[in-house]
């Protein structure tokens, strides 16, 4: 049953990825793949925040945590599109953009995850502090 929930949540996450990617692609005309980068940064922040706050509040069942974290956010973000876009940039002779894309993805992705962790942990402490008083 858990596999079914992960699959359904994954389908919704992918749909959100496609929707946001299409919307960004409609206004962004440069070859630099900003859409995937933005999607991946948002997802990394959300997973960090959820893992360190939302999933620890005890209000969600383990099944919901797996479906949302692994299924939905996991499918919203993507690594394969990032890899292929980088190779396409290299093939187009845009090595500078390819290097920039890899560095931004590696650096900002980690920072987004950290920010999610940071704000999530803060929020959890705040909430637990209130419960104790």
């Amino acid at each position: 049953m858990l596999y079914l929930y992960v699959g359904i949540a994954g389908a919704l996450g992918a749909l959100a990825r496609y929707g946001l990617g299409t919307a960004i692609g409609a206004v962004w005309t440069n070859t630099f793949p900003i859409g995937t980068l933005v999607i991946n940064l948002i997802g990394s922040f959300l997973l960090g925040w959820m893992t360190h706050f939302l999933f620890r509040t005890g209000k969600l069942t383990p099944q919901v945590v797996t479906a949302v974290g692994t299924g939905m956010i996991g499918s919203f973000t993507t690594f394969s599109t990032f890899s292929v876009e980088t190779i396409q940039l290299i093939d187009m002779g845009k090595a500078d953009q390819a290097i920039g894309y890899v560095l931004l993805s590696a650096g900002l992705g980690l920072y987004s995850s950290y920010l999610g962790y940071h704000f999530g942990t803060k929020r959890l402490r705040h909430q637990r502090g209130e419960e104790m008083t």
Binding site: S80, S83, Q88, D91
Partner: protein, 113 residues
């Protein structure tokens, strides 16, 4: 139709990624995120191959955006990397290098195969 194709592919991709994770958990007690590394590298190869070998829109939506897009993940990769920071810089470096290096090489091979 576009929406259905993406959702069907992503349904299978997310289940496959979760399944690999469960299998890996049952096989080894290693703290190294082999499952994520495996899906990200194999998915990069798959999408690379698909992208340069077909222009068939339905297949690109179902397998490309849906299946390979959801089989691979970026958010879990970053969460796992962050967990290594400050306590295990060796594995942090190994995991970061392995994912980006092998992921890009796999996409390159798939694309040019």
């Amino acid at each position: 139709m576009t929406i259905l194709l993406i959702m069907a592919g992503a349904f299978l991709g997310a289940i496959a990624r979760f399944g690999v994770g469960q299998l890996m958990k049952a096989w080894s007690a290693s703290a190294f995120p082999w499952a994520t590394l495996f899906v990200n590298v194999s998915g990069s190869f798959g999408l690379g191959y698909l992208s340069s070998h077909t222009t068939y829109a339905s297949l690109l939506l179902f397998l490309g955006v849906g299946f390979f897009g959801s089989l691979t993940t970026f958010s879990t990769l970053k969460l796992e990397l962050m967990r290594f920071t400050s306590k295990d810089w060796f594995h942090f470096g190994m995991y970061l290098m392995a994912t980006y290096l092998f992921g890009l090489i796999a996409a390159y091979i798939g694309w040019h195969l």
